[in-house]
Symmetry: C2
Subunit: 599 residues, 2 copies
């Protein structure tokens, strides 16, 4: 998305000057820049691409301070708390001691020699901090502020980021059609918004598991994912050191972090679903809210009566959270403790501004199970829970499938929007076929682009390792890039203002053989340049008026340019004078395919 309205370029210019330096700002390539807001501590990061024709294009940037040469980042110290002053200034929150961190928070036995940790310093070496929460009974959520007509600095930040008026941001949040996930305990984030009125967003999942991976790897995966364009990151860790891993990720993340508290709660009862209790779950939610988790997946829609609806499915229940809750319901033959205690949960989330991501625990796990009774029964319950959350001023989005053939995709978004009062839809894919393990980023990228075009607000990425293994660095990049493509294709199809200017800038560069500009404007400049150089490594090739696909004699762009040069792009003149022109054309020697030497 590019900022091209009257206001933004100017302020971008200022930002560029006031940021990573004029030289950098003016040299060819892409650079970190900032759009200045109404106050000195409100600077919106953008990716500024300076072209060889003197123009520049401004793109949305999720990479955080890591790509700012002037920022001094240190993962052991964490990012600067950008939003702290804004939060404190509101005066509706208070710091407090917080619950003590216990060994089991990190999946360690109660008998662990390490014993209980007393404060976060031991978990994270960065500056010691106390958790913050709303003063008694007070909802400190962006939804509450929006309903009161307030435009918070966070709202102004996303307005500049999305190139819309702040009032639009406030009104979409107030209406429940958009969420701005921003826990008061995660002041490090650069605010972003999720809603169909705005750019389609992409989430990347990270997280260690019992099987493999480490804390450092997860933090690196998070910064890597945001570098390539992830708008939020979910930490789905399930092994040891869950608490510590999450703390490191949060303190270093410029984007909102989501989790599934149920995973950690299950670890605390050694994986025995039936031993889960509301108290253990609630304590885990508070633990994570105090750390700063911005949104939480809650599978409160998996109700006892729905479990039998999955009995005749081809692939049963494929959501981890959904299967855990189903196991609990069966073991006790009781209604879900998440459903029963949903209102109390709302009070907790409202006190930290944690956003609900109401999980689709009964989503289809195969083409055969798409759009079935179990799936839509749960969706209706999510609609009911969305209305309750709204009563408590808790921001809410709704999770969606899964595995769905193309002809059944639209029904998913249409039903969700109707049943959930247009709350933001957040879908996993959907995968449009089951037959391509190792390529599910593609089977799902197809469904993701379509459902986003039709109104889905955020897409949860799928990597090539889906169904097979844990994604490595390359898989994370492939997943993010694939989903950025799906999201941008949807922004184009929705006619999002400014979206096409990015495509136009790249196509202009392509037509004018500005190879370096093509690379710098590409979603993945490194790979585009590398692929080009594989066939035509020589530097001259970067200015050549042809590419290796067709070779010099067959370049269609070249002749199009000649047509334009001959006839000036004035159709009337072309038609009137074509005969005369054709003679001149002949006079030029009719060399429409100039050998590279001549350029």
């Amino acid at each position: 998305m590019t900022n091209k309205d009257a206001r933004t370029p100017a302020s971008t210019q200022n930002a560029t000057n006031s940021s990573s330096g004029e030289e950098a700002g003016k040299s060819i390539g892409w650079h970190k820049a900032y759009v200045a807001g109404s106050r000195p501590d409100l600077r919106v990061p953008v990716r500024q691409v300076h072209l060889t024709n003197g123009r520049s294009v401004t793109l949305y940037d999720t990479s955080g301070p890591y790509t700012d040469p002037e920022a001094d980042t240190d993962v052991r110290r964490g990012l600067a708390p950008l939003r702290e002053n804004w939060i404190v200034a509101r005066g509706d929150t208070e710091e407090y001691a917080g619950r003590p961190v216990r060994p089991e928070d990190d999946g360690l036995k109660h008998t662990s020699p390490r014993g209980g940790l007393r404060n976060l310093d031991a978990v994270f070496p960065g500056r010691p901090r106390q958790p913050r929460r709303g003063r008694t009974g007070r909802a400190v959520t962006q939804l509450a502020y929006a309903r009161q007509g307030e435009i918070t600095p966070e709202m102004e930040f996303v307005a500049l980021r999305e190139n819309v008026a702040p009032e639009v941001v406030r009104d979409e949040i107030a209406a429940g059609r958009a969420v701005l996930p921003a826990n008061v305990n995660h002041p490090e984030i650069e605010p972003m918004i999720i809603g169909k009125r705005f750019l389609v967003k992409v989430n990347a999942n990270i997280g260690n598991s019992a099987v493999t991976s480490s804390i450092e790897e997860e933090v690196e995966k998070m910064t890597w994912a945001t570098r390539w364009g992830a708008d939020t990151v979910m930490d789905l860790s399930t092994g040891r050191n869950i608490h510590t891993t999450r703390e490191w990720v949060l303190r270093n993340s410029p984007v909102p972090i989501g989790t599934v508290p149920l995973y950690q709660a299950l670890e605390k009862v050694d994986g025995r679903a039936e031993e889960l209790t509301w108290e253990i779950y609630k304590d885990t939610v508070i633990e994570q809210a105090e750390q700063g988790v911005d949104y939480m997946t809650v599978h409160a829609g998996v109700r006892l009566p729905y479990v039998p609806l999955t009995a005749n499915r081809k692939t049963g229940i494929v959501s981890r959270g959904g299967s855990i809750m189903a196991a609990w319901c069966l073991a006790h033959h009781k209604e879900s403790f998440l459903y029963e205690n949903f209102e109390e949960l709302c009070e907790i989330l409202a006190a930290y501004d944690v956003t609900y991501s109401l999980g689709d625990g009964l989503r289809p796990g195969s083409i055969a199970d798409a759009n079935d009774e179990a799936q839509f029964a749960e969706l209706r319950t999510l609609g009911e829970l969305n209305r309750i959350a709204r009563r408590f001023d808790v921001q809410t989005m709704i999770e969606g499938p899964g595995h769905v053939p193309m002809h059944k995709i639209k029904e998913n978004i249409d039903l969700q929007q109707e049943i959930c009062d247009e709350a933001p839809f957040y879908t996993l894919g959907p995968l449009t076929t089951d037959v391509a393990p190792a390529y599910d980023h593609i089977t799902s990228g197809i469904g993701a682009a379509m459902i986003a075009w039709w109104g889905t607000a955020m897409l949860c990425y799928v990597t090539p390792k889906e169904h097979l293994g844990l994604p490595n660095r390359d898989d994370v990049k492939t997943g993010v890039i694939t989903y950025k493509i799906a999201a941008h294709a949807a922004d184009l199809a929705k006619g999002h203002p400014g979206a096409q200017e990015w495509d136009d800038a790249l196509s202009d560069a392509r037509f004018e053989f500005r190879w370096e500009d093509q690379f710098n404007l590409a979603l993945d400049p490194d790979t585009a340049r590398e692929f080009h150089d594989e066939t035509l490594p020589a530097e001259p090739a970067k200015t050549a008026h042809f590419c290796s696909m067709c070779g010099p004699k067959f370049c269609s762009m070249k002749i199009s340019q000649d047509i334009r040069r001959e006839h000036g792009g004035n159709r009337a003149e072309i038609e009137e004078g074509m005969a005369r022109k054709s003679l001149e054309f002949a006079a030029t020697g009719n060399r429409v395919y100039l050998p590279i030497a001549e350029d």
Copy 2:
């Protein structure tokens, strides 16, 4: 697509027994098998996947004799001429001397020391052959036969392959809604059909260029592409040895081969578009028809009055053939010689059963140019030419774009079907955004799946190197697999009979943790297995009741199975006895996540 109707499994069984051996046929994994037709020389190749649960799944197979352990293939000798007896038996063709092969056919100077070649033996070491053509004035096309009510062996072959009645094949061809590309000089092919009523097909482009690549590479790319599922291959060579490369590709190809004769014609005039003549073009078409090219892209829709319509485009003309014809029209200020001589061209193609692929020389090359006046003006002319071709009994398909945002895709297929009397649509992508060079297999795979769902019959693949360089082996595989996904996703969305059985078989294997079956059923078994082993290399892991994504404690499939085991999948019983069941469930120790040791 799987064969599951009453008839086919039986005949497949016979085929398996009569083919690559019972042992092979019965062992776990996938094997080449054949479906027996009504005559001994009519055996339809299939990919038979034998599962660990004793079942087997039959999949469409494009890989040719190369995957048959009993077939003895030698690229220097070429494939056996499967169809020769069928062609000869029709008695409507004759062998003749054919035009002499000249040095310029291989892009060599007239003064070349090599001098003129006198016959194909020097070009291809395989058995000497004379070209064949219809007896004077006789159209020897599958369209002509279908209109006469005849069901040819080729039609029976594709009927078995598509699992439909032969009459359906005949009627779709007769109506012009499908084509069966099969030049009488390409007897080596295994017949296939292109039409919306049938499985969506995928074409892979190969071809050396002035810049790089060799004959051996191109032949290897062709076999490699068909191994992964390419239904046809286009040889777009533009450098030297065009004639020889094509001969080697044709003699070794089990799938129809397409070309763009204009490329070779331009080579013959040293790349000077204005020096092209109808005679040179016609001679090149005959040269290629005698070799056995099954379908030819002809840019006869690029008319003089349309060239000015491209003057104000962002990316002008991006089709090589389109730009060549536009240059010729401008240089001479004359109507296109292809348009002017179209009827004579029809007579030539009818004599060899070469299928028209009417090229979209004015297709959009950027999101900005999609669905514009130039594009649709040409499409209307293609509709006119399609009706002329039909008068001459020449099979015809229509080529489509290109770069098109999602919301403008449907208009393309709807207009084409209306204007071209439902002739098969054959599209390149379309690419749904311009911003992702190096990932255009994905930007276009999205558009390809959608346009195929809406009725496109064949998809021309796009590789990751599109816009950047020449595809290598890996790029060809990635392009083909991506497009097989798009095609199958479309078959599912169209509700193609049997299409979903492939997905169901794989999802069953997934739910039952039959890892080997998942790999063997996968579109790309090698990569699926490799990705799994990266995280869980140990053999036991292949029978584990969990995968590395969630680890043993979090496997949702596991608990779904427990639910099913507990409640037998009988919902009534589940609802009635859930309370009682829940006690039994507790009695089992509630161990829903069994550690791997227990399995």
